[in-house]
């Protein structure tokens, strides 16, 4: 099929889903948001961005003044790429539109891990102006420093449409930090984002996403991941700043033998926020493994923490761990762990716990001389500490800093 035909095909499919209400999450009225023809200027040097924007981006893990510890950078403001660059051989970073022009084979990856007609949000991206990043690690190439990508919502009341494609070629190693944030701390806005990941044989991808929105923003990411033989996908998601409504439930398919997917999510929310965050992993090949770990804290908002593991092949293994803390009088945490085994010889398990901090633990620390507040803070800090296996020390350190920086707001 020619490029034009394929594109028309997706547009047609998208049109059929333009009003399709998503399976999960509050329905967002798209007509309440605006589009924009404004195109912020391209910047060769990302550190020339206004300091306020840079500060917001820094809160989401994006460093623009010193990029020595990054192998590439992509910045998108609203629906326009304003910077993309690489500083290491073996990795490609560019706006997804440019990749479509450059590579005929992009069609093999376009809307293949996420369905264009999944719901009105995926459809809206295809039917309107969008952009996104294309990040690819070349065969056998291992990046040391992460590629950073920032999706920045600059204009008030805007709907930001994002479509990303990430490809880790055979035997490569790729680390990505994505920071999503907004200029305004009080205006409404809507972020829609499709991310399609393709992890080839023996490749390893760590994907760290930090969300730093405002209390009026709605967010609907749609991610799909396909992992081939011996591939590894490690996802870390951190949301510690207020957001009005966020729903996502990425789908990973382990299609190659011994493919591994790991999810770690840290969710902290307060009054007025509603989160519905899950991870789904389908273990379709022999020896595939997954671990889904989430930590949720509410000081007044509602969190639905989902997890779904399906075992369809021999010797697969999966574990789901979901723990929630309710601090304060209000707040709801609803843990929904699901396991589905479709044959014998698989090993799937889950543990979920929701509650307040155990008084016995607080008193134990108090007996060592800590005040009640110090003891509570120590326990909360420990609760949020997710030790991520396989994460490079540099990233682990940055992640730790990001969690610690937000901790103060929780206390």
């Amino acid at each position: 099929m020619s490029k034009t035909n394929a594109s028309r095909n997706y547009k047609d499919k998208a049109k059929t889903a333009a009003d399709k209400v998503a399976a999960l999450g509050e329905d967002i009225d798209l007509s309440k948001y605006v589009s924009s023809d404004e195109k912020p200027p391209y910047r060769d040097n990302p550190s020339s961005l206004p300091s306020k924007a840079k500060k917001q981006m820094l809160d989401a893990g994006i460093m623009l003044d010193d990029t020595s510890q990054r192998s590439g950078t992509y910045i998108q403001m609203d629906n326009t790429p304003v910077h993309s660059s690489v500083s290491q051989d073996g990795v490609e970073v560019m706006p997804v539109g440019q990749a479509m022009e450059q590579y005929d084979w992009m069609a093999d990856y376009w809307w293949q891990a996420v369905a264009v007609d999944q719901d009105k949000y995926t459809a809206n991206i295809e039917l309107n102006q969008y952009s996104g990043y294309f990040i690819r690690s070349l065969p056998g190439q291992k990046t040391v420093f992460p590629v950073q990508a920032c999706l920045y919502l600059a204009k008030d009341k805007l709907v930001q449409n994002v479509h990303n494609v990430i490809i880790a070629e055979e035997g490569s190693e790729l680390h990505i930090i994505t920071g999503c944030t907004t200029a305004s701390r009080e205006e409404t806005g809507l972020h829609l984002g499709v991310s399609e990941f393709y992890i080839k044989k023996g490749a390893k991808v760590t994907f760290t996403m930090i969300h730093s929105w405002n209390p009026e923003i709605a967010v609907r990411p749609r991610s799909g991941v396909i992992i081939e033989e011996d591939g590894l996908f490690l996802s870390n998601y951190i949301l510690m700043k207020p957001v009005r409504s966020l729903q996502m439930n990425p789908l990973v398919r382990c299609v190659g033998d011994n493919a591994v997917a790991r999810f770690n999510s840290v969710l902290v929310t307060g009054e007025g926020s509603s989160l519905d965050v899950g991870s789904r992993v389908i273990l379709d090949a022999r020896g595939a493994k997954t671990e889904i770990i989430s930590r949720a804290i509410t000081t007044g908002g509602k969190i639905i923490a989902r997890g779904y593991i399906e075992g369809n092949a021999p010797e697969v293994k999966g574990h789901l761990e979901c723990r929630g803390l309710i601090l304060g009088e209000k707040g709801v945490i609803h843990a929904i762990p699901e396991l589905k085994g479709n044959l014998a010889g698989i090993d799937l398990s889950h543990e979920a716990a929701v509650g307040k901090i155990a008084e016995e633990e607080v008193e134990y620390l108090m007996a060592r001389g800590l005040t009640r507040d110090e003891a509570t803070a120590t326990i909360v800090r420990g609760f949020l500490r997710v030790d991520i296996e396989g994460l490079p020390p540099l990233l682990a350190e940055e992640l730790k800093r990001a969690v610690e920086a937000s901790e103060k707001e929780v206390m």
Binding site: R323, A358, E360, E361, E363, Y364, L365, M366, A367, R368, G369, L370, T371, R372, E374, A375, T378, I379, R381, G382, F383, L384, R385
Partner: protein
């Protein structure tokens, strides 16, 4: 000095111990014997100040100050420490975090490492506190934390339970350090109150006073080795009977 006068304690409205009198002078270690359910642990918890253990009568004084109304952390900062029999697992809080909290940042950088070496817990520092610890590991971890905390009064609930023979030697060593047993008595400040069922710990830690608790009060006071011999030979009933009618007084 710890001074307990006419103490009665209730848990969830139910009176568990009553009319307890006890004085521990600086540098002394005392031992509490008694059958299950006698109220020994309740007495320790009440001295430490856990809110569930409500003092309904009497008073507890420590270092000349009435501490009956103080919270757990206030008592800990005043110099009372406790080795828990079954401490909770606190996920995400590492053993090293606990030791650091006990040290309050007042020591050299390697203080945690040195304490861990002493308690043979070097490999446990990065593990969540008490998570998957064996009986002996819990005891050593508790004592390691107390060595960091340096309390003047240490309360220990069955330090030898669930501990094998190799571990008990090390535990005895750690306890002796905590209670300053190597320091001449006239210079020794640290006090101890130890609950023991088996008395094994007496082979490792020197104690000069023993009590038998029964039905929520102290039934007798005496030399802990003598008390232990009586209990071993005749059981608790005989031990208490022997002192029946004797007013519990401190020597």
């Amino acid at each position: 000095m710890l001074e307990i006068k006419d103490l009665s304690v209730a848990v969830e409205g139910k009176k568990i111990i009553h009319d307890v009198n006890m004085t521990i002078q600086n540098g002394e270690t005392h031992v509490l014997f008694g059958p299950n359910g006698a109220g020994k642990s309740t007495l320790l918890m009440a001295i430490m100040g856990f809110p569930k253990y409500r003092v309904t009568r009497g008073s507890i004084s420590f270092k000349g100050k009435d501490i009956t109304g103080l919270t757990v952390d206030e008592r800990a900062r005043l110099g009372i420490g406790m080795s828990f029999q079954r401490p909770p697992v606190v996920r995400g809080v590492k053993t090293s975090d606990m030791v650091a909290a006990c040290l309050k940042g007042s020591e050299d950088d390697d203080a945690i490492g040195k304490l861990a070496d002493k308690a043979d817990l070097g490999e446990f520092l990065e593990r969540d506190i008490n998570y998957g610890f064996s009986g002996g590991e819990i005891k050593r971890s508790e004592l390691m934390q107390l060595l960091a905390q340096k309390p003047e009064l240490t309360l220990m609930d069955e330090p030898e339970s669930g501990v094998d023979l190799v571990n008990i030697v090390l535990i005895g060593k750690l306890m002796n350090e905590l209670l300053e047993k190597n320091c001449p008595i006239q210079y020794r400040k640290c006090m101890g109150l130890i609950i023991t069922h088996t008395g094994h710990i007496l082979d490792y830690v020197n104690a000069r006073t023993g009590y038998v608790m029964c039905d929520g009060t102290i039934g007798c006071v005496g030399d802990p080795h003598e008390i232990l011999t009586t209990i071993r030979e005749k059981g608790y009933d005989e031990c208490i009977k022997c002192y029946l009618g004797r007013v519990p007084t401190h020597e």
